[in-house]
Amino acid sequence: MLRYTLKRLLSLCISLAVASLVIFFVIEVAPGDPATFMLGINAQPDTLAALRAELGLDVPKWQRYLSWIGGLLTGDFGTSYTYRTPVAQMIADRLWVSLPLAIYALTLSTVIAFPTGIYAASRRGKAGDTAVMGATQLGVAIPNFWFAMMLVLLFAINLRWFSAGGFVGWDNGLGAGLWSLTLPAISLALPQAAILSRVMRSALLDVLGEDFMRTARAKGLTRGQALWRHGLRNAMIPVLTIIGLQFSFLLAGAIIIEQVFYLPGLGRLVFQSISARDLIVVESVVMLLVFAVIMVNFAVDLAYALVDPRLRSRT
């Protein structure tokens, strides 16, 4: 397991290094200089030079890359060109909305998908299976931001159960915070739950046909016991993969859903930064999102090895 973990760790470090290079140099080719953008085209050359020096734009690119990476490693993401406040602080403030939203949605999608997937697999070919599969087919086709608008129309505007947008903040208590993230989380979770439910069903159906399941039944286990003790664990490999992949889609999806509900999360920060050409913020937020995706995939790889010991010896 140690060798497997070390190998994955090395791969993780290389991926992060290459990703950071790609992000930095893509942003670096951006036409226009942030200092010129901030001061306008009529700025005096000496004022421009002073601002460039202040923002650290007067040093070679490779030096800026190294200082950016060094900063990221020590939690110093630089200073926003627009707001003149530390980027790390801006991101931290917004992360308290986006991250709980993604986790809330992931929890909801798992809670919905597991029972429906198991139910459909256990009723294969029957009406229940057809109904679940039909619903998931529709769930996959629904754009989450449109579904969010429909939820707002029904539950916020017509029924007035929820607020149509905004975030009350965690200062008002966990319950109030979660309540204001409920509609966004449901809209994010629905398409993911549909995908996960289909994967759960097909993974379980694959496992149900295996010899060891027949053996388990022959040993006297009931269908439910065999499914619970042997089937689910073996079906977890593809399910874990999809949960891992979903996290990246949930984070990206959260950026869009935040627009529907006017949530003060990373999404709004990044769009405001794009329009203000505050590239240092865009750079850091994108790096953070990619970091999250790579870390989750790393965790999924390790989880594989825990669920299926055969994988440890293969690598």
């Binding site: 290389i14 086709a141 931001f145 449109w146 608008m149 869009i256 794009i274 865009v282 990619v290 995706v293």
Partner: protein, 271 residues
Amino acid sequence: MSRNLIIGGVLTVLVVLAALISFVWTPFTHTAMDIPQKLQTPNMTHWLGTDHFGRDILSLIMVGARTSIAVAFVAVGIGMLIGVPLGLWAAARNGSWIDELIMRGNDLVFAFPSLVIAILITAVFGASAINAIIAIGIFNIPVFARVTRGGALPILAREFIMAARVSGKGDARIAFEHVLGNVANLLIVQATIQFSLGILAEAALSYVGLGAQPPTPSWGRMLADAQTLVSIAPHMALIPGCAIIITVLGLNLLGDGLRDMLDPRLRVARV
């Protein structure tokens, strides 16, 4: 023919037809504003109602279908044109450093969801439908590379490949003459899935302002326009949403149907 294939095929053909017909005919000029007629619900004159500028929603939906289909189609094309040769190359060099490099590169691109690629591209070059195509296209590359490699590996181990090699054919010729045809079914099914994901991604990018820009009609932009008016004119949000759902559902059913139809041949190919 399976039921999925028929329903999916019919829905897809309907959407493509609507897009094609819009080149020669729409009920109204899609850009024509008629403020006195604004926010009308569906009626005999405007079958799907009008928006906040009095524009005919059916005309906008028909022209918007062109944007969605074009963006998703070109993005799938980019993914296939780059991803398939990469996948074939990785399979032909299975286990070598080239294979490792291509597959790790794929993993890296996978770490950038299409929205994140779009954010990066937009931050640098500004928002446009072209940039949406590039963002979705880049995301499609590793998908096709993986599917191609996965499908090609068992084919490359078969005897007719060895026979081709003995007859003096090089890796590239074998890949294109013998392997590509055998993984075509897999690629067709995957292309259908990526096409439907492309439609969803284009709508999402346009919705947040990173895709098609006004005056180019797009379903995502129509939803963005509808958002603040959803309480007084819900049809403005309902109709583009249904257009997206019908298209994506149609493509997904078509993909499922194609897979069901092509699967027996695939199974034979794998033996």
